[in-house]
């Protein structure tokens, strides 16, 4: 690669950098080739991301926006969308096009009017909702302030789960809205189910072709590297990834719910070499689990298949047992699997289910495992057909419950057992079962979660609201803030079923409180009295004090259940803003919206 002139440095008026620093920067970048410049740029952006306090989403100069380049926007929760977007942006760049991948939550919506080519990778959650992080973008896009987009060309890749009635809703809504605003779709939207790999790759290929036609690849002209916030690039070289996880040793495996609890929760400590599993408090760890051996054996028994028999699929050959143990989902049912089974079965009940009420079907997909389907409605499967029809195994994500400052080269996670009876038969969650078993090691990678990080400002107060294993990231937060000697105060509001058995990490919170690191600690034990008490009740009870903290600049964090807790907590916050902050319902909503936009109200809910 030939040497190119140094990047045009922003003028001091736009981006104040003291004169000596500016000189150093000029000196540093003078004569570097594009690769080195990209490195420096990425490094700086990573540093910025690490210390971002919510107000410094990457600033992009207006100069840059006018350039012809593609924006790949992703609204992603589990990281699948981010991976697809980053891969696409990288392949565009590799073909000499200017491109950036940006999280919808980091995207400055005012730039939308100037975009020429936009790719949107949007995943759908819950009842047809976009990911938490992308709500502000969707509010803007669907709202009255959205600009006309006549000069925009776009394509949408929608990710979803066909088990839900509103399959790929967030992608569909964005697609239709962009069209309504005058933008021209350059390709038909593609809706992906859980096994999105093939469809997503096809869509990305098409997207690349369109971009090559629409945008002129940069010739000798200086290229602008516009980089979304990254983790420091120096680390990006060797980190474990979803597709190349690291094998991590399990150091400790300890049940942390007491005898009074009927919900086993396990605390795991795994070895986390800094170069492979670099993480920040708030990040998640992805774990590739094995399906329970008894489940694999039972499926083979029901279908009368030989687990040792070699099975070829998509160019790979391995024994059926391996496919089922390590490469296929057995505990999560999906609509395609249900349909494929129905096509093989003569059971009228199954046909009725496929053609009938969507809610009933959704309930079956939610509550049944593959084995339930095979046992309830018999059908013939060959090993090859089965492997072809089942969804590829997906890793599970767990909030990291530690800070390296406290635990060194370890990573802690908190795993709740999924273990229940369906019609008298025991069913377990594959990943939690695996993590709670005696496995001495596991394959893991870090899934950065930039939307749920500590504020850079360690003087800022934190209000941490969580229930169940949703308390995990706060353990990491508090460890980090303790190690940093943070002067900000901390308030934990925790919801559990029973005080005596389910108060996760109780002894640690009490120690932190004694040390003066945790200033307030509130517990809502839902089942310890006749009427259920949840965290939102505590928020209202403590409304006056809560409002004083918020008015004083505290950051709010909410982690845990998305369907009930997060909306209930939000409603309680609205109440508190009204009761103690003098807001109307509408202005309270707007106030909280501003907190979200200002990254002072962060949620990690699922």
């Amino acid at each position: 690669m030939s040497a190119v002139p140094a990047l045009p440095l922003p003028s001091p008026e736009v981006q104040p950098l003291p004169e000596p620093r500016l000189r150093l920067l000029t000196e540093l970048t003078q004569g570097l080739d594009a690769g080195a410049l990209l490195y420096v740029s990425g490094y700086a952006a990573g540093l910025a991301a690490a210390q971002r306090n919510g107000h410094t989403a990457v600033q992009v100069s207006s100069q840059a926006i006018e350039r012809e380049r593609a924006t790949v926007l992703y609204a992603s929760h589990t990281g699948n969308g981010r991976r697809i977007a980053e891969k696409l942006a990288a392949s565009l760049e590799s073909r000499g096009l200017s491109a950036r991948a940006v999280a919808a939550g980091d995207y400055a919506t005012r730039e939308l009017a100037q975009e020429r080519l936009l790719y949107l990778v949007a995943s759908t959650h819950g009842d047809g909702d976009p990911p938490e992080d992308a709500r502000a973008f969707y509010d803007f896009l669907l709202g009255r302030k959205a600009p006309r987009l006549e000069s925009l060309r776009y394509a949408v890749l929608a990710l979803g789960d066909s088990s839900y009635p509103k399959f790929c809703e967030a992608g569909r809504v964005a697609d239709e809205r962009l069209a309504a605003l005058g933008a021209a779709a350059i390709a038909t939207r593609v809706d992906c189910d859980l096994d999105f790999d093939v469809a997503a790759t096809d869509w990305s290929g098409t997207a690349l072709q369109h971009a090559l036609e629409i945008l002129k690849p940069a010739g000798d002209a200086p290229r602008l590297a516009i980089v979304s916030p990254l983790r420091p690039a120096a680390l990006a070289v060797t980190v474990a990834t979803r597709d190349a996880p690291v094998v991590a040793e399990v150091l400790t495996r300890q049940r942390i719910t007491g005898r009074a609890s009927d919900h086993p929760v396990t605390h795991l400590e795994i070895a986390a070499p800094a170069d492979k599993l670099a993480y920040e408090p708030g990040d998640a760890v992805g774990v590739w689990h094995h399906n329970p051996p008894f489940l694999v054996a039972r499926i083979a028994e029901v279908l009368q298949l030989d687990l040792a028999a070699p099975v070829s699929h998509a160019g790979e050959e391995r024994p059926l047992g391996d496919w089922l143990t390590q490469h296929r989902e057995l505990t999560r049912l999906s609509r395609p699997v249900l349909e494929a089974h129905a096509a093989r079965s003569s059971a009228p009940a199954l046909r009725a289910l496929i053609q009938g009420d969507a809610q009933a079907r959704a309930a079956v997909i939610r509550d049944w495992q593959v084995l339930d389907l095979l046992e309830t409605h018999s059908a013939d499967w060959s090993a090859e057909e089965l492997v072809g029809a089942l969804r590829p195994l997906a890793p599970r994500l767990y909030s990291i419950a530690s800070s390296r400052q406290e635990v060194g080269d370890e990573l802690h996670l908190t795993v709740a057992a999924v273990d229940y009876e369906r019609e008298g038969v025991r069913r377990v969650g594959a990943a939690s079962h695996f993590l709670m078993s005696e496995a001495p090691e596991l394959r893991a990678y870090i899934e950065p979660n930039t939307r749920f990080r500590l504020p850079a400002d360690s003087d800022r107060d934190l209000i941490m609201i969580g229930a169940g294993t949703g308390v995990a990231p706060y353990r990491g937060f508090l460890q980090q803030r303790g190690a940093d000697g943070a002067r900000g105060r901390h308030w934990l509001l925790f919801g559990a079923r029973r005080f005596s058995g389910d108060f996760l990490y109780q002894a640690e919170w009490l120690t932190a409180r004694k040390r003066g690191l945790l200033q307030r600690l509130d517990l809502a034990a839902s089942r310890d009295q006749a009427e259920k008490v949840y965290v939102q009740h505590r928020l209202r009870e403590q409304g006056a004090e809560l409002w004083r903290w918020i008015a004083g600049g505290a950051s709010l964090y909410v982690c845990g259940d998305a369907t009930r807790m997060a909306p209930d907590v939000h409603a309680a916050l609205v109440d508190v803003a009204q009761t103690h902050g003098g807001h109307s319902d509408e202005s309270a909503q707007a106030f909280l919206g501003d907190l979200v936009a200002g990254r002072r109200y962060l949620r990690d809910v699922y």
Binding site: G258, F503, Q506, W509, L510
Partner: protein, 557 residues
């Protein structure tokens, strides 16, 4: 008195604003099942101890959970009498808030175990609703006043019981803290509170009073700071109370390896008329208040105060304060410290059934559904219940015609141990110890059945199956089961290990001595075996094991 700095508990009491401390704040602190440390000392004065399930301590530490804290609540029940209606209410409290057991103590009180902090207020309120309270059931105050449970001398017993209540009321703390914290009483602003007897820092240590009617010494009268031995005279209408011999300075607590601490029998100081009882009681209490050691809690009981002052000086001080001259002690004699099991008839023709309740624990276990059985009895019983200082229960004041249905319920619910148990296991005592007592070094209540089985097998081996031996087990040397008076006592040293004490007597009038230290069960039995062999071969008719050991010079003081 010394110039040594006051013990930390003295400071806690002094700044507690008459036992309030920060109890309200501690109770409201939901994230922990414990109280703030200072408040745990103050809570005792309200009749409750913070404890934790020691069986679960290590497990919960690994689970990153605090210890499984719960509270023991002890009632104040002077003389140990309660009505069937109260019994039913206490039974319900034990089932709703406690661990489903009622425990009868050697101080004739009920204990509830396993009450968690968030239920503590409701439990205290529920207990008080039965017209039984818990004030001063623990703490550096006068504890529950106990009295001979003997109901046979009906009229005399009623008189002694009345004195137990009067003394208890007279020495009750006057602070309103209890009523404010547990019963929601409004604080009355501006009225200065005083403790006329105790003062703001109460007593240096716990204080125990017992009243006894010879010849039964079921209260172990010499084990208490202050004992009243009823002296009975023949009167025109039957026996009447002439007055009391006053015994002072008993106490059984000691610390392993600390020679400055020891069990001590009370000494009879003289005789008083009944009407002098309260004045003398108050004088003994205030003398201890002013002269007791407030620097070293291990040396703070009245027994050490008397040792330091000398008995004559102590008596002189009491006489001065009470304006009473003690007369020479009158003669009296005890025959046993045990209970009279089974049905007995009082002078008023009413019947009384003394049941055996091992270690005082009333629970439903397997076929012995004692809690259920006593509930059923309480539903039909028209008399009262009496808790004995030997951890047993008397169903008292039964008309002759009401005996049969009670007998049937007793039999149905495995409450008939008194008809089946050997003499040795009938009289045995054990304190609570593990898992809830924070002081316990070894098992006691849970170990009693196993030890008795092993010990009685040895007795039977030597042909001594029917020879009564007074056995007591204590989880630590503080002596809640009064081990120092037993013929054979095990005092907890470490899990599974005990000091073996021998040579108490059957009437509670002789301390035993340390025979062997730090033994496991096999070694205890091995140490006892030759002594039992010798006893079997050389004993005189009706000679007790403890008396034999001394006569045969097998023990040295």
């Amino acid at each position: 008195m010394s110039d040594a700095p006051l013990s930390p508990v003295e400071h806690i009491k002094a700044r507690s604003r008459l036992l309030r401390g920060t109890l309200e704040t501690s109770l409201a602190d939901a994230p922990t099942g414990a109280l703030a440390e200072d408040d745990t000392s103050l809570l005792k004065f309200h009749g409750s101890y913070q404890q934790d399930d020691r069986d679960l301590r290590e497990e919960r530490r690994l689970q990153k959970l605090e210890p499984a804290y719960s509270f023991m609540i002890r009632t104040r029940l002077p003389g140990g009498i309660c009505k069937p209606k109260q019994w039913l209410a206490l039974d319900e409290i034990a089932c709703v808030y406690g661990n489903g057991t009622l425990r009868l103590t050697t101080r004739q009180a009920f204990q509830f175990h396993g009450v968690v902090k968030r239920d503590l207020k409701a439990t205290m309120a529920a207990i008080n609703a039965t017209l039984i309270d818990t004030i001063a059931a623990c703490g550096d105050v006068n504890r529950n006043v106990i009295a001979s449970a003997n109901p046979v001398e009906s009229r005399l017993h009623a008189e002694i019981y009345a004195w137990a209540s009067k003394i208890s009321e007279h020495l009750l703390p006057r602070t309103r803290a209890y009523h404010e914290i547990w019963l929601g009483e409004e604080k009355i602003a501006g009225t200065p509170e005083v403790e006329p007897i105790y003062g703001a820092t109460y007593l240096p240590r716990k204080f125990k009073i017992a009243l006894v009617v010879p010849p039964l010494n079921d209260v172990d009268v010499f084990a208490h700071d202050l004992g009243f031995i009823a002296i009975v005279e023949a009167g025109a209408k039957g026996p009447r109370l002439a007055g009391f011999n006053v015994a002072v300075g008993g106490g059984l607590g000691a610390t392993h390896g600390d020679a400055a601490t020891y069990p001590r029998l009370a000494q009879v100081a003289g005789f008083i008329a009944p009407e002098e009882t309260l004045a003398v009681t108050e004088a003994v209490v205030t003398t201890q208040r002013d002269f007791g050691d407030r620097a070293n809690r291990k040396r703070a009981r009245l027994k050490y105060t008397i040792e330091t002052m000398g008995l004559p000086a102590f008596i002189a001080e009491v006489e001065r304060r009470a304006s009473v001259r003690l007369a020479p002690a009158r003669p009296y004699a005890f025959t046993t410290s045990g209970d009279r099991f089974g049905w007995t008839q009082g002078f008023d023709e009413r019947w009384h059934l003394n049941l055996r309740i091992p270690a005082g624990r009333i629970a439903d276990r397997d076929s012995a559904r004692q809690l259920t059985g006593l509930r059923a009895i309480a539903q039909i019983h028209r008399g009262d219940f009496r808790l004995t200082p030997n951890q047993n229960l008397i169903i008292a004041n039964v008309a002759a015609g009401d005996r049969a249905p009670i007998d049937a319920l007793v039999l149905d619910h495995g409450l008939d141990l008194y008809t089946r148990a050997s003499p040795t296991s009938l009289d045995a005592l054990a304190c609570v110890a593990l898992p809830t007592c924070p002081l316990a070094m070894a098992e006691a209540e849970r170990y009693l059945p196993d030890f008795l089985a092993a010990f009685e097998a040895r007795l039977a081996h030597h042909g001594l199956a029917r020879a009564p031996v007074l056995v007591r087990i204590s989880g630590c040397p503080n002596g809640c089961s009064r081990p120092w008076l037993a013929e054979v006592a095990l005092v907890g040293k470490a899990p599974g290990r005990y000091n073996l004490h021998l040579g108490g007597n059957a009437t509670g009038e002789r301390l035993n001595v340390l025979f062997r230290e730090n033994l496991a069960e096999a070694a205890i039995l091995e140490a006892l075996d030759p002594l039992l062999w010798q006893y079997a071969n050389e004993r005189r008719p009706d000679e007790r094991f403890g008396d034999f050991l001394w006569r045969a010079k097998l023990l040295s003081a």
